[in-house]
């Protein structure tokens, strides 16, 4: 609705739109995953902390997908993008759609994403696109807390009891193959980087690995050698089977009662 009716699909800034979907879909899918813990977390304090994190991520989703909808200019809203697209139109990383598993797996997934998210948002504060820099400036404060909390919990549980250590190591082993996708650059990343809007994701790899190594060392956890990476989430080429199941939960209300609002 923001752009004149004369705007055509041909004028769509495809690369920018896709980048914004990637940002918004990451926060939407992870936000929904984390919200699945609401009422189920091991202790009250973690339950509320996870709910806060989920709400932060959903709030960021409103900004990213809201901007995506504006850029698209087809009259769709952030809600339309979130609730009325199907699996193949999502552009989130495979990492964030992975099931919650046990609490350790949830926290490990959170830390692995939070660390990347923080580095990316810090860089996006200097984006040539003021709208993106603005969203990043707001989100980076929330994510700074997310990573502080998830890192400390990874350390606490990793360097904890025999059982918590075992669970955290298993979570790390399970999720490690999903780390690489965050740093794979494609033609959209290349175009965004050339235009000064977004950093090349590959440039975040070194600081990420350094931060991760420090946390894992304190957590007495070890990462297997090898850089195999599952891919296909951010390009939409091949999501894991988990995303479709998640969307049936997340989207059922809008699907069953189109346009329902409260």
């Amino acid at each position: 609705m923001a752009t004149p009716a004369s705007s055509t699909a041909a004028q769509l800034d495809e690369a920018l739109f896709t980048f914004l979907l990637r940002m918004g879909d990451n926060t939407l899918v992870l936000g929904h995953r984390v919200s699945e813990w609401c009422g189920h977390a091991p202790v009250l304090e973690e339950d509320i902390a996870l709910a806060n994190t989920a709400l932060d991520l959903i709030g960021q989703t409103q900004m990213w997908l809201g901007l995506a909808a504006d850029v698209e200019g087809q009259g769709r809203s952030a809600d339309d993008l979130a609730m009325l697209r199907d699996v193949w139109d999502f552009r989130n990383l495979l990492l964030v759609e992975q099931p919650n598993g046990d609490f350790g797996q949830t926290i490990m997934r959170q830390y692995l994403f939070d660390q990347f998210h923080l580095l990316l948002l810090r860089a996006l504060q200097d984006s040539a696109d003021d709208r993106i820099a603005g969203i990043a400036a707001k989100a980076v404060k929330e994510v700074g807390y997310h990573v502080e909390r998830s890192a400390e919990t990874v350390i606490g549980l990793g360097d904890g009891t025999e059982e918590s250590h075992g669970r955290m190591q298993a979570a790390l082993d399970w999720l490690s193959p999903y780390v690489g996708e965050m740093f794979v650059s494609d033609e959209i990343d290349a175009e965004m980087a050339t235009r000064g809007i977004v950093p090349d994701p590959a440039s975040l790899r070194a600081p990420y690995d350094a931060a991760l190594a420090e946390v894992l060392a304190k957590a007495t956890l070890s990462r297997h050698e090898g850089d195999f990476a599952h891919q296909g989430g951010k390009t939409g080429f091949r999501h894991s089977e988990h995303l479709g199941h998640m969307l049936t939960q997340m989207q059922w209300l809008q699907r069953a009662y189109p346009g329902a609002a409260w």
């Binding site: 304090e45 509320i48 902390a49 606490g156």
Partner: protein, 97 residues
């Protein structure tokens, strides 16, 4: 749940609502250490923008007066009205105190 070793210690949480006010006791929570207690307090007690500063104290570190000592501790002051500063005329120039 009766095994004490599986429970995190209890922490009492104090929050200062705004600059210039003192910290007030707002409740308690469980956490494995002081740093996590601060984080948990942030998540449990300041999610509606309630505070600018948090103190946490492990509950076992607090020494409390005993309710059974109420008589000797407090009753002697009940009859000493002269300890209230209400017997002085405050000059008008002083204004509101």
């Amino acid at each position: 749940m009766s095994d004490a070793k599986t429970e995190w210690p209890l922490w009492e949480v104090f929050i200062r609502g705004q600059h210039g006010l003192s910290h007030r006791h707002v409740g308690s929570l469980h956490a494995p250490d002081a740093e996590m207690a601060i984080k948990n307090a942030r998540d449990v007690y300041t999610r509606r923008n309630e505070g600018v500063s948090i103190w946490v104290v492990e509950a076992t570190q607090i020494t409390a007066s005993s309710p059974s000592d109420k008589g000797p501790l407090y009753e002697p002051s009940e009859s000493k009205v002269y300890r209230h500063p209400t017997f002085f005329d405050i000059p008008k120039d002083v204004g509101a105190m």
